[in-house]
């Protein structure tokens, strides 16, 4: 191992050098307004940068050690980094403590990864392991469902948890809806949030302007979104993958800009407020009933509790999400569902076999849009206030990330990815922008290490070419 050390040091040095070049201006010289008309000045962070570059050097060295079989030195380095991060040593900023400690954690994980992997592989090959694995796959979904149904009755179901649950389920539903378009039909849609917006604005406008209730508007909003999907999809679905992605992105932005600028209809950036929430058999969730209405607590004869509304919302979105899932599962068995998956694999072959690609894609696009419309009107009813701010591109990207990270076409993968991508960052809300930074980096890392997603979709039973070849043409 001795002769390799200089190479590793050189590699780590190079990495540190690149990191320094990347950070020197953006991190090292923070521009600040000096005030008094003196223009911009600098707030220097060069020491922070130097510490970060040193940490990157050590981290990279540790990584190459781990990759070359020098596990123990790598673990020692990782533990040292964790200790340094946790120590009361005076670093220039709190972020650096986290940076060092997290770097150490990652390094240790990387170093013991081969052992853990081997151990899991051995465990999975024993007879009981195989049986457990099979049972796990079969029952995992049902267990998750049971947990989701029972969640509001558990002691941790305080307001924060319930809010988070509703949020995660909304993204699960959106993920399942987009999964039809991206996972099954293989159409890359970067403007999915547009349909979500259509559903939300449909409910907001119909309820505030015409006094229609949530349950009346829900199907209407879905239909409206599906109609948008057909109108937008019809001309563009002939395009190939990447172009389709950009056109849908363009459409998403067009819809957002129209919502932002069409004051008479949408009230522009100020948004639409006081949207009524969903009702339970005509009864509203409120402490005191509005004129001519009954509150739920009166109807059921129970004491008022602010949490009831949240629990109700939770079950609505759970129900809507499950409908999406059930619908998708059934569609997959129908000819059109099979045609979607066939189209994803090879469009030319499908055409040769007499499948009309445009119509098939259009059904997937419209159905996906419909579910986004449902989710959108739920969102409007939950938030009671919507504005174009909620329908920016990053939302589309997050939903797409959920689908792809979950493993395209995998329903349970979407749930896992939604919990991971929405639940975890939400717990770390206080971290502010670091959260989105980590989100972006996580997207890259998961793609690099697990490009097929957390749960890979079913592989086609016969492949003409090995995976990855023939991508160029």
């Amino acid at each position: 191992m001795g002769p390799r050390l200089p190479l590793m040091l050189k590699d780590a040095g190079l990495t540190a050098f690149v990191a320094a070049a990347l950070g020197i201006f953006i991190v090292g010289f923070r521009t600040v307004d000096q005030g008094g008309g003196k223009g911009l000045g600098f707030d220097y962070h060069l020491v922070d940068l130097a510490v970060a570059v040193f940490v990157i050097f050590i981290g990279r060295l540790g990584l190459s050690m781990a990759a070359n079989g020098l596990r123990w030195p790598a673990i020692v380095l990782g533990v040292a980094m964790m200790a340094a991060g946790a120590s009361p040593m005076k670093l220039p900023s709190g972020f650096l403590h986290w940076f060092v400690a997290l770097g150490g954690v990652l390094l240790v994980i990387r170093a013991i990864w081969p052992w853990a992997n081997d151990a899991m592989g051995v465990a999975a090959r024993t007879p009981s392991g195989v049986a457990l694995g099979k049972a796990g796959v079969k029952w995992f979904g049902w267990l998750l469902l049971a947990a989701a149904v029972l969640m509001p009755f558990t002691p941790f179901a305080d307001q924060k948890t319930m809010d988070l649950g509703v949020l995660i389920l909304t993204y699960v539903m959106l993920g399942w809806g987009l999964n039809i378009v991206v996972g099954l039909a293989g159409l890359l849609d970067l403007g999915y949030v547009a349909f979500y917006a259509v559903g939300a604005y449909a409910y907001a406008l119909l309820s505030t302007q015409y006094g229609l209730g949530f349950w009346t508007v829900l199907p209407l909003a879905g239909m409206m979104a599906a109609l948008f999907g057909i109108v937008l999809g019809f001309p563009v679905l002939r395009l190939r993958g990447d172009y389709l992605a950009i056109v849908t992105l363009g459409f998403g932005e067009i819809i957002r800009l129209v919502l932002l600028n069409w004051f008479d209809l949408t009230n522009g950036p100020a948004g639409i407020g006081s949207i009524p929430g969903p009702t339970l058999f005509g009864a509203v969730f409120a402490e005191t009933p509005p004129p001519g209405k009954q509150t739920v607590s009166e109807m059921l004869g129970i004491a008022f509790d602010g949490n009831h509304r949240l629990i109700f919302l939770y079950y609505i979105i759970l129900g809507l999400a499950l409908i999406t899932n059930l619908f998708t599962q059934r569609m997959r068995r129908l000819p059109v569902g099979r045609a979607w998956e066939a189209l994803r694999e090879d469009e030319t072959a499908c055409q040769a076999l007499g499948i009309n690609p445009t119509n098939t894609k259009l059904t997937a696009f419209a159905i996906g849009a419909m579910f986004a419309g449902f989710a959108g009107s739920f969102f409007a009813a939950k938030q009671r206030f919507i504005s174009p701010e909620s329908f920016v591109f990053i939302e589309s990207a997050i939903i797409l990330a959920i689908v792809v990270l979950g493993g395209m076409g995998s329903q349970i993968g979407v749930v896992l990815a939604a919990v991971l991508l929405i639940g975890l960052p939400e717990w770390f809300r206080d971290l502010g922008n670091y959260r989105m930074l980590a989100f972006g980096l996580a997207m890259v890392l998961i793609m690099v290490f697990k490009p097929r997603g957390l749960i890979s979709h079913r592989e086609p039973s016969i492949r003409l070419h090995p995976a990855g070849s023939g991508g160029g043409g």
Partner: protein, 304 residues
Amino acid sequence: MAYFTQQLINAITLGAIYGLIAIGYTMVYGIIGMINFAHGEVFMIGAFISLIGFVICGSLGISSAPIAIVLVLLLAMSFSAVYGWAIERTAYRPLRGSFRLAPLISAIGVSIALQNYVQLAQGARPKPGGQVVSGGFNLFTADGFDVRVTWLQIIIVLVTVVLMAGFTWVIAKTSLGRQQRACEQDMKMAALLGVNVDRTISLTFVLGAALAAVAGMLFLMYYGVVDFFIGFLAGIKAFTAAVLGGIGSLPGAMLGGLLIGLIEVFWAGYFSSEYKDVAAFAILVLVLIFRPSGLLGKPEIEKV
């Protein structure tokens, strides 16, 4: 007529900036067939490095505008190029040969990460600066309307034209350009014939990033303000320009940039400035529907 000429001058300036960014998209798409979604962020980082460079020049007492511009230009180009290289090396290269959507998702991740990185490091507020060139001259006066050309507009167009000429020369005449065109046509065959494909792709990213940095500097000088979010819209518009001109074609990217600049400026000048971005996106959609190969692009033949 005077108003029209004025708008035309403004449109050409804006179009030049879009064209420079569009080259990065078109080259990367041409060579590895992926939309480098993070390219807009490299442009944004280029603008920020230029801003910092101008402030450094100011504090060093370099008062001559040409020297400051050349220094900042070199600074922004070289350091943004490192970003281009690092992005390709870490986020795209491991995914080469993976399934089609993987690099795009990774690129979206890079884009989100870079935006937040700059927001954290530099703050969320728009930063004013970079206005080192001022003044101009009246071209002519008609109907009581002065048609003005600023020195800055001339600099922008000149820099763009020079870079474009240099770049076209690099692609057409140098061995790097030949290798790059070979990789575009058939990467596997090029590799078999001894072209270092990895190095060629890296250099493509480096060159694209350097041009985006120039665009970032010109943008900063033209608008006098940058923030961490400018990369998104500029990136999409530049991509539109690349598609409009025919993706993979360098003159096409420039032409597309000019057209997008024209559409945007004239729409804002004659109709409404709120919907100028809608107009740009609508053009993108229309072009892709009626002429997916773009104005100067070759139609793509799908092989089975």
